[in-house]
Symmetry: C2
């Protein structure tokens, strides 16, 4: 059940040279364990994995393992442009105590289906850990066909997919297609916070959540309502989230959670350049949207 | 005149761990200098720059500088996901003896115009070398607006742009727009080998060429015809290139020139995984297309 439930993806606070601030990261991860999320998703896109060196990724994983003490499962993003690097990162994650891996087909040269298949097979074979396919065309610029997902699902350790959710009601069709494509028991989960609860209502078993990495309590309320099939409660809670979702769509969830984590006093860390911190006016809007969550 | 004429982009032969084969690289670069290309474009997309470490990039530059002995100008790609890394690579390139820099706005998290502007300003300030804007949305997933190009052109060291050529006659409109956007003397050049000679006929001053990195002689004939405004000769020569252009479009120029360099006995090096070498049947087609160039 590793890839089930609410998976919370924190940012990875680091200095301007990319050195992770372990104290701040530990504070963020500790909040997630305490709140009772179902897993922590370290070094996801929100966790800036593509902008961190091998040594810093490893330091971050070790800090998270220390924080969570095996009480909350730890999923670690191990994507890299090179297959050998992704294998190394996977190996490091297992050695440091991760419970599962998340792998995106990061690209510079556009990749063919066969190249992505071989890449995933090689990384899956690098450890004994279960692996989740990270489908995020907005950052990787690779789109999985159903045929490729099906081939990948036949690899023993590949047991889950993280898919960008569509708005309701289209997500029902999407989920039905994925279910008929993938073997029974394959964990179909969703990202894209503003559509994710709807995707869980439609049958998704996981919400891979940016907001839960910062605000686990209201995210848990939304997820539990969705898991219970309570569409009215989902709608009520999503209403409180809507100002934040609007900012996620406008400014990107990545930039918004950096601003929020700083505004909430949980860290003092900017995104890695070239990404810029939000201007002061947008930071204010972020903090107003977060204030609206007090009523969830 | 650094960013004018035929700029030839060789592959960077490396082993499966990403260690550059200096002997093979030197052989490729030597051919270019001997043939008389106007510049060598090292560590472009064709040169796998995003898949090579800092140390290997530096080794490659030093080898090329040794080969070219200052007789042919050397342009070096210095793109990176992190601004500080791109600055470091630029500094390394200057220290190793490069004559100019090529910078693409490589992204994982999608970038805003302001982020790209600040990134280019920071890298341009890292050395004394002139810099060419590398516009390649197919790999970077960032599209430059004319307004952003104009802002960048006001930075003192940014003097050129490498733009993906459109087919004729649309490239005339594109070139006219770029000319009216950019200051006089700003070097507007083109990539996309199968459309590049047409872009030079339309007024472009540079062909940033994949094929010239491997087959400089026929590429020089095509470029000199285009520079002379000889549309009939361009058409004749492009006819001989057409089987190769068709394979570039179908299989990507990157994979094709790797296959060709191996087939011609110039190296024994595969692209970095996850990219795969072409299957044997496609390799044969590549060698047939190259044989057609004997008649140029």
């Amino acid at each position: 059940m590793l890839f089930h439930g609410l998976s919370a993806f924190p940012i990875t606070p680091a200095d301007e040279r990319g050195r992770v601030n372990i104290g701040e990261l530990a504070g963020l991860v500790e909040r997630l364990g305490t709140a009772g999320v179902d897993s922590v998703g370290l070094l996801g896109s929100t966790g800036s994995y593509m902008y961190l060196s091998r040594a810093e990724r490893r330091r971050a994983i070790e800090a998270a393992v220390d924080c969570l003490r095996g009480e909350t499962p730890l999923i670690v993003g191990v994507g890299a442009l090179r297959t050998d690097d992704a294998r190394t990162f996977a190996h490091d994650a297992q050695a440091a105590g991760a419970d599962g891996l998340l792998l995106a087909p990061v690209s510079y040269t556009p990749l063919t289906d066969e190249e992505v298949f071989q890449h995933f097979a090689a990384v899956a074979a690098a450890t004994d850990l279960p692996l989740c396919i990270y489908n995020n065309p907005g950052t990787t610029h690779f789109s999985f066909s159903n045929a490729l997902l099906r081939r990948l699902a036949d690899i023993a350790r590949i047991v889950a997919v993280k898919y960008p959710a569509l708005p309701s009601p289209d997500v029902k069709t999407l989920h039905g297609e994925l279910q008929s494509t993938l073997p029974e028991g394959f964990a179909i989960g969703y990202s894209g916070d503003w559509n994710a609860a709807g995707a869980v209502l439609a049958g998704g078993v996981t919400w891979y959540s940016v907001v839960a990495g910062l605000l686990p309590e209201p995210a848990l309320k939304l997820m539990r309502a969705a898991q219970a099939g309570d569409a009215a409660e989902v709608q009520r809670i999503n209403g409180h989230f809507e100002p934040l979702w609007a900012l996620f769509r406008e400014l990107s969830s990545y930039r918004v959670v950096y601003a929020a984590a700083n505004g909430m006093g949980l860290c003092r860390a900017d995104p890695p350049r070239p990404m810029l911190p939000l201007p002061a006016g947008d930071q204010q809007r972020v903090m107003q949207a977060i204030a609206a969550l007090d009523q969830v």
